[in-house]
């Protein structure tokens, strides 16, 4: 496999401090490789956004990163830990190396500034020596990249449609040619046609410009279509990770299987839409053992007692997929 750009190691993210803390992301390990689209799926409330905001340190109070490492591999340099950067380093790092497109794309643009201002201020902040003319030229280029007419530069956000605003955000994300773009439900608020249009465009851009994408959505069928690998989140943990095709063909975790049966797939054989019965767990009182066991159709006695660890399952020895489920116990390396 190609080499890593971003490595998340043992990441824990809480809301609140001390005994009151809600553990919204638990012990997450995840690697993003060069040039790939890594999908992150899970029901709403499973901690996807918390993970994305936590690893970039954009989580507002009372959010705190409790522990972990987020290693960013620079071109030909030693990896740097985003969680150890001071504010100045973090400012320089942001957008130049990792850009983000947010869930609430409708409100991501500052309503009182023109599109041009918002595209150029980030260039100016990271390259103070650039000229006004060069910044404007770049802004025009970025709009062209995402298929928006350059005369929209003078528009205010309220004069753009939802789809256009999201395209502007994607264009903005590419302004400094970052190596990682994180997208948190970038198209959820848009209608299905626009959604797919934008994602198609994004995948094309990725091929031309060669950045990596972390793509977050609760709609697993979108990921199956647009990503290379998929990680499934439940109750703040990653419960399964596999190549998109493998996960689609052969989901190992009953939760992944349930998610696949929750959305209609656009391609491939039709699946029966059954959904997952029950509600996501309350983070303040997580079930013992496997946190999915109260809702799991295949739960066993062991599931309510012992927490399954994420690892390569014994019955898929040698594959590059991992799962946390007692149906597929981790292969024991001692033998």
């Amino acid at each position: 496999m190609s080499d890593a750009v971003l490595e998340i190691r043992g990441l824990n993210v809480d809301y609140g401090l001390g005994a009151d803390a809600v553990h919204a992301v638990r012990d997450v390990n995840l690697t993003l490789h060069r040039g790939e689209v890594l999908g992150l799926a899970g029901e709403s409330g499973s901690g996807k956004s918390t993970l994305a905001y936590g690893m970039t340190r954009l989580l507002p109070p009372p959010g705190v990163v409790a522990s972990g490492e987020v290693l960013y591999h620079r071109d030909g340099g030693d990896p740097v830990d985003v969680l150890r950067m001071d504010h100045a380093q973090l400012r320089a790092f942001r957008w130049a190396e990792t850009a983000i497109v947010f869930q609430g794309a409708m409100n991501s643009l500052n309503p009182v500034h023109r599109v041009s201002t918002q595209l150029t201020d980030v260039i100016k902040a990271h390259d103070p020596r650039s000229t006004t003319a060069s910044r404007l030229a770049r802004a025009r280029e970025l709009l062209a990249l995402v298929g928006i007419a350059p005369d929209r530069l003078d528009s205010y956000p309220h004069q753009l449609s939802g789809g256009m605003r999201q395209r502007v955000m994607i264009g903005m994300a590419l302004a400094l040619e970052p190596r990682v773009v994180i997208m948190d439900e970038p198209t959820t608020a848009l209608d299905v046609v626009v959604q797919r249009q934008i994602l198609r465009q994004l995948v094309d851009l990725r091929e031309r410009l060669g950045f990596s994408v972390v793509f977050i959505t609760h709609d697993l069928s979108l990921l199956v279509e647009f990503s290379d690998r998929i990680a499934i989140m439940y109750g703040g943990r990653i419960v399964e990770e596999a190549a998109a095709a493998d996960l689609y063909r052969d989901p190992l975790h009953p939760y992944s299987d349930g998610l696949l049966h929750s959305f209609p797939a656009l391609r491939g054989p039709r699946r029966e839409l059954t959904g997952i019965p029950g509600a996501p767990p309350d983070l303040r009182s997580m079930p013992s053992g496997c946190s999915f066991h109260p809702r799991c159709p295949r739960a066993m006695e062991r599931c309510g007692v012992e927490v399954p660890v994420l690892g390569v399952p014994g019955d898929r020895r040698g594959s590059d997929r991992t799962v946390a489920c007692w149906l597929h116990p981790v292969q024991d390396n001692r033998f």
């Binding site: 970039t56 954009l58 507002p60 973090l90 400012r91 320089a92 790092f93 942001r94 957008w95 130049a96 850009a99 983000i100 947010f102 609430g104 409100n107 991501s108 643009l109 500052n110 309503p111 009182v112 500034h113 201020d121 980030v122 902040a125 990271h126 205010y156 309220h158 004069q159 955000m169 903005m172």
Partner: protein, 326 residues
């Protein structure tokens, strides 16, 4: 443009409402106030002046209310607000004309400055939430609970006196001839500092609090997080993204509360014997000089409407969403 036209229509309507209220209030008074006034003027009034008063007070028995109303409007249109009794035989319009510049200078200037300073301070306090600046909040609350005029009394008691730099009364040294020379202007500034500081201190407090609250609210908007994610400098995020948006509700709040603020600030003039409309109103109340009182009410209301309109224009310039799409 339609937004602006709507606002203009609203202000015209409100001006008409204020004029009409002014028309009806004296008609609710029992007895014959004009007769009382004439008695007090000891027969020094011309019949014309008496007639104009009867129109103002609606005691012209020969006319219906409608006729009276239109005659009243006509009189107003000519700028005739009647005769003042306190300053007999000066017409009310002239008395007000003398006082208005002082009020506009003192109250207008300090109200705007208080808003600007309070908003700036609120920006910082809201941005640095949880820092020492938050301790300012109880102090500000206490300050904003003190009536303006009482703070003025306190300032006079503590800061003025025979040897003090600050004069306790007036708007300028009365031994000087008013004019645009350095000495006179210096005297005006010297007399203005204490009343101005009084208004500033008590009016700022409210703006600090409301801007702080808006900053706290805006700081969790997505576009502020995006600004952080873009790695923009701290100042740019605070001013260009957070404060720039938090300012909008504060400006409309400013426009809406002008009526409240102006009422309070007029009292500062009374305490400092500052020769503006507030002091005139005080004198008019003391002397039961109804024409003067009503004239002042009308002028204050119209000024507040004008100020409101200016604040609307500011809002229009600040918020692109209110502008018509081009």
């Amino acid at each position: 443009m339609s937004y602006l036209l709507k606002r203009i229509a609203f202000y015209l309507f409100t001006a008409w409402a204020a004029i009409t209220i002014n028309f009806f209030i004296p008609r609710l008074m029992p007895g014959d106030p004009v007769q009382a006034l004439i008695t007090r003027a000891r027969g020094q009034m011309t019949t014309d002046a008496v007639q104009s008063l009867y129109v103002l007070f609606g005691l012209d028995k020969d006319e219906s209310v409608v006729e009276q109303y239109f005659r009243y409007l006509g009189q107003l249109a000519r700028g005739d607000l009647g005769m003042s009794f306190t300053f007999f035989p000066t017409p009310v319009a002239e008395v007000i004309g003398d006082g208005l510049p002082w009020t506009v200078g003192l109250v207008g200037f300090t109200t705007v400055l208080g808003f600007l300073l309070g908003t700036a301070a609120g920006t910082l306090v809201g941005w640095r939430r949880g820092s020492l600046a938050d301790l300012l909040i109880p102090v500000t609350t206490f300050l904003s609970s003190i009536p303006y005029f009482w703070l003025g009394l306190l300032a006079i008691a503590l800061l003025t006196g025979p040897d003090s730099f600050f004069p306790a009364t007036g708007a300028y040294d009365t031994s000087l001839v008013p004019g645009f020379d350095l000495e006179f202007i210096g005297s005006v500034v010297q007399h203005g500092i204490l009343p101005a500081a009084t208004i500033l201190i008590s009016s700022m407090a409210g703006w600090v609090l409301s801007m702080r609250n808006m900053m706290v609210t805006v700081a969790s908007e997505d576009y502020v997080t995006v600004a952080h994610a873009k790695g923009l400098p701290e100042r740019r995020v605070m001013v260009g993204y957070a404060a720039r948006n938090a300012l909008l509700p504060n400006v409309s709040g400013f426009a809406l509360s002008l009526g409240f603020i102006v009422g309070g600030t007029l009292l500062v003039e009374i305490v400092f014997s500052y020769p503006g409309l507030g002091l005139l109103l005080f004198q008019a109340v003391g002397a039961q000089d109804y024409p003067l009182m009503q004239g002042i009410f009308l002028v204050i209301t119209l000024s507040v409407l004008l100020a409101n309109f200016l604040a609307d224009l500011a809002y229009l310039a600040l918020d692109p969403r209110t502008r018509r799409e081009g």
